[in-house]
Symmetry: C2
Subunit: 233 residues, 2 copies
């Protein structure tokens, strides 16, 4: 398989980084091809702004319109183009990040904002079951500060499945990809070395047989009215 790992982790010595290193090791042993975008190490530009499309003849348009225009006349910035190429190349995409403010760190959000360009990667109607990245798989590998119980259905932070829905549904499914269950290490800064080792082993085991992981497919656009995008009654 072609594996693309996107990492948004500011510390090379963190447990989040150890998980990423374990993933690279497993996929190497399996003989897969791997590309890693380590956003902090790359100094990835996080802010989607006019600078990205300053070379357009008419740059004063909404950012998503500029993405579309620039792709048509081959004016995408090299840093954006390189990431799109990895995305198109990959069979499996893994997003590795610590859970900051119930979402991803800004540098990864910026990767999403800038790399998932309007036109080539999605446009009206080319989403969910009709999405451009259909057939690919993706999942999230997450570390949290709070314990698992804080993220259960009666936990104070809210149910983790609901908190990740904007990403699972609005990014992974939206693009047409099948979503594997997220791999989550709760309280990663507070668990013991022994527990960390167990989580690393569990992660490696999951990755070794990643083909067998259960997945959810994007909603079928045929079931929705294409004017309103409400489910057909």
């Amino acid at each position: 398989m072609n594996i693309f790992i996107i990492v948004a982790n500011e510390r090379a010595s963190s447990f989040n980084a150890a998980l990423k290193n374990a993933a690279v090791q497993v996929f190497r042993e399996r003989g897969d091809d791997i590309q890693v975008s380590d956003l902090y190490a790359m100094g990835f530009k996080a802010v989607a702004d006019k600078q990205d499309y300053s070379s357009l003849p008419d740059p004063d348009c909404p950012y998503q319109v500029a993405q579309n225009k620039a792709s048509e006349i081959d004016l995408l910035r090299p840093d954006i183009k390189a990431e799109i190429d990895k995305l198109l190349w990959a069979d499996l995409i893994i997003f590795h990040f610590p859970f900051w403010w119930f979402s991803m760190p800004a540098i990864l959000k910026g990767w999403i904002d800038r790399v998932i360009i309007n036109g080539p990667l999605y446009s009206k109607g080319r989403w969910y079951s009709n999405g451009v990245l259909k057939g690919k798989k993706a999942f999230i590998t997450l570390t949290t500060g709070a314990p698992e119980t804080a993220y259960c259905k009666t936990g104070i932070n809210g149910y983790i499945i609901n908190l990740l829905f904007p990403i699972q549904h609005g990014i992974i499914h939206f693009l047409g990809m099948d979503a594997l269950d997220p791999f989550i290490v709760y309280s990663s800064s507070y668990i013991s070395e022994k527990e960390r080792k167990e989580k690393l082993d569990e992660y490696k085991e999951k990755l070794f047989c990643i083909e067998k992981a259960s997945l959810t497919s994007p909603p079928n656009v045929e079931l929705y009215d294409q004017g309103t995008w409400k489910i057909k009654s």
Copy 2:
């Protein structure tokens, strides 16, 4: 009232910007004090990284630990400190942004990651009903590409209330603030000039009597077990 508006909008000519301008106008007419952080105009640094805490004696620690340490020894960067001061000054905080990938643009996520510092603004147990910003109000003013029907309970994008839950609950409530209902302009790039004017008027009306807006309070921490953060049974 002291009003703090945080705007993450890359185009000064967009409808999202018009909404922000309308808000400023209303609050001026009401005689409120206003501060605006226009993140794109400020060139706000979006990425939470080591550079923010490079002046610490021991900068190799998790970012949130560095936030806490730096605040204790008065080593916060001026750009972060200025935003914290506005937050503490404000009675009402409004987040103005276009809905990008089912969330906020990276520049605003970076503001959250960098400004809401561990220690002074939250720490273990000082959250939700026990949050540091208790008594303040906050809400989201949002523009979307897709129509309202795509964000209803049977809409393909998912129910907007669920999609905004990580922000309403995980940021506004988490910090102890009461959350007003979001103000949302759907399909903002596709509606007519007349519809835009109507939405601007509706927004101004809401803001003129903002004291009367309905709100939801954060969950009561007393109802949760403080070891597990699950609801007490």
